[in-house]
């Protein structure tokens, strides 16, 4: 509980402009495909009961192991992701050229 959200008074989020942006490429994001690849491989390469691992049928074990590996892979991605390290906003191609928050277009 690093950020108690309900201490006395209002907690205002940091102004949008204070978040940094990342310019570098982020090849480590490709690792995010690992969970999808492992799960989708399950019915194709692991669709059998034997060999059993610790008594658990192979297919079930494959899914359980994938479910444990996935958060570890996502954690590794975050370690090497420049955006995570600086708490940067996500680059949005559709917004290219817009840096500051609009005040005129939004609700006010």
């Amino acid at each position: 509980m690093s950020q108690p959200p309900d201490e006395a008074g209002r907690v205002t989020p940091p102004p949008f402009d204070e978040f940094p942006e990342v310019r570098s490429r982020r090849p480590v994001l490709w690792l995010l495909l690992v969970p999808a690849v492992l799960y989708c491989a399950a019915p194709l390469v692991a669709n059998r009961i034997e060999p059993r691992v610790l008594g658990v049928p192979f297919l079930l074990m494959w899914i359980i192991v994938t479910t444990v590996i996935s958060p570890i892979v996502i954690w590794i991605v975050s370690r090497y992701d420049p955006a995570y390290r600086t708490d940067a906003i996500e680059p949005i191609p559709a917004d290219a050229g817009v840096r500051t928050r609009e005040t005129g277009g939004g609700a006010r």
Binding site: A36, I49, V68, D87, P93, D95, E102, T103
Partner: protein
């Protein structure tokens, strides 16, 4: 009513009162604006975003459908764990991207985003309507799920319909007053109960019914091998192709579900969401437990008619009533929390985009048509109430009709992925392309379903429709590039010029 039923009903009643109190009191001292109500002013830290999003993955389906599928089909139920985890990997990028776009332009829903991206209010309205059509059945499903849970935990003492009305009153009471923050707090209560209930079941059920987990696995392999490999037992063609296509479609689609997006918007920083993608997959491990309980029911109550009751049949059969009640309350809150966020999401979709005059990004609109913040919030609350009422009426009068549709929720909302999410990354997408793709995709998806061709050759119909959606979208976007469309992907000068 028997003694057990009285005890269980009393505990249930107290829990519902406590839920309303927690939910209503959570917003005390907060500002009363639209942004606070709908997205908690983007003020929630990692912990609360985690609770909120975890709350939405563990719905009443986890208690009923997960055990039920495991009981009747076997391994096809593993798609649930698979797509939720894949969805969190996708959300590592999609979550902060949606957060960034919405934060930069002051947007509060996916319809709001589409309206701003394409500078067109009709596009926003189309997104709001399509999303609503596929979410209302989902709310009804939660209400009916709650009815089943409460009826079972009270040993039949509480009528299905009474339970449905209670769920409606409780969810609307705190969502109308406290908005998303109320859901986050109730979700905290729910998660404590769910973790307790599920861990307890994990230890107790194998011990009590099948002499430990090892013996249970062995018996499953010897007696029910058909349940342990794809396509499972009598699962109606849920083989490898179905598994892969459904996991991919649902994994991407869940990142733009209006309730997931409400969770994104509530985050204080992009890293609150990225951390969420790191932490939340661990929570999926809990889903293996109702699956195991469902499989246990194969040996204990092999002739069970309603497979949804696989878990509660075991629970009410052997446990003392106070414990049954606690597990039942966990199941009931698992319906109420997602339901509250779903009605809130619909309220937000309609309140600004349809009824409130849009967000002002459409250059064809004058600024004066837009409703003020207070009025937009009132309209949102009204829609929030009406949406819940429609779902309640559906569950009371047409209990099976709309549930059919809820099966299509993911396939339908999947057609919104290009117009809402891909549009942020693909600058050349035009309003005409996005709308044409959405219309074609939705038509194909409904067509396949109505003619009984879903899944087609074992592939989820939603994926086939999404491919057609993308092809049409790309073809139209390239054939008529942005210049031909007023205020295309490049930020319209009229709006960008006002940037401070």
């Amino acid at each position: 009513m028997s003694g057990s039923a009285v005890i269980a009903t009393t505990i249930f009643g107290l829990a519902m009162v406590a839920t309303i109190l927690i939910g209503v009191l959570s917003a005390r001292g907060r500002d009363k604006g639209l942004a606070e109500w709908s997205v908690s002013s983007r003020g929630l830290g990692v912990m609360f975003v985690w609770l909120l999003m975890a709350g939405e993955t563990y719905t009443s389906f986890s208690f009923l459908g997960t055990a039920g599928w495991s009981f009747s089909y076997g391994v096809p139920i593993l798609y649930l764990v698979a797509y939720l985890t894949v969805g969190l990997a996708v959300a590592y990028v999609a979550g902060p991207a949606i957060w960034t776009y919405a934060g930069r332009h002051n947007l509060i829903s996916i319809a709001d985003m589409a309206e701003h991206r394409f500078r067109s209010r009709p596009v926003g309205i189309l997104v709001a309507v399509v999303a609503t059509v596929f979410i209302v059945p989902y709310i009804q499903l939660q209400i009916q799920g709650m009815g089943v849970v409460v009826n079972a935990m009270s040993y039949g003492g509480i009528d299905l319909r009474v339970a449905a009305i209670v769920s409606f009153i409780v969810a609307e009471a705190f969502i109308l007053v406290s908005g998303l923050r109320g859901s986050a707090w109730v979700s905290a209560l729910k998660d404590v109960l769910v973790i307790f209930a599920v861990v307890f079941l994990a230890v107790y059920v194998p011990m009590h019914y099948v002499h430990g987990a090892g013996a249970f696995m062995h018996r499953l392999v010897v007696e029910k091998p058909e349940w342990l490999t794809f396509p499972g037992h009598a699962s109606g063609g849920r083989g490898a192709a179905w598994f892969v296509s459904t996991v991919l479609l649902n994994g991407v689609t869940i990142t733009i579900f209006p309730n997931t997006v409400a969770g994104y918007f509530s985050a204080r920083s992009p890293n609150a969401l990225r951390r969420n993608s790191v932490l939340l997959p661990w929570y999926q491990l809990l889903l293996f437990i109702p699956m195991m309980v469902g499989a246990t029911a194969l040996f204990v109550v092999p002739t069970l008619k309603n497979s949804d009751l696989a878990l509660f049949a075991l629970v009410t059969r052997s446990l003392p009533s106070p414990l049954v009640a606690v597990i039942g309350v966990a199941g009931a809150l698992s319906a109420i929390v997602p339901m509250s966020v779903f009605v809130l999401a619909i309220g937000t979709l309609w309140g600004r985009t349809l009824l409130g005059g849009g967000n002002g990004a459409d250059p064809r609109r004058t600024r004066t048509e837009r409703a003020g913040d207070a009025r937009t919030k009132r309209l949102s609350q009204l829609v929030c109430f009406v949406a819940g009422l429609i779902a309640l009426a559906g569950s009371l009068f047409y209990p099976s009709a709309l549930v059919q549709l809820s099966v299509l929720s993911y396939e339908g909302l999947g057609q919104l992925v290009p117009i809402v999410l891909l549009a942020l990354f693909w600058r050349r997408m035009t309003a005409a392309g996005a709308v044409a793709g959405l219309v074609v995709g939705t038509a194909i998806m409904l067509g396949l379903w109505l003619t009984g061709h879903d899944p087609l050759f074992g592939v989820n119909g939603g994926v086939i429709a999404l491919v057609a959606n993308l092809i049409v979208n790309a073809a139209v976007s390239y054939a008529r590039p942005a210049e031909a469309v007023p205020g295309g992907p490049a930020p319209a000068p009229a709006v960008a010029g006002e940037a401070s």
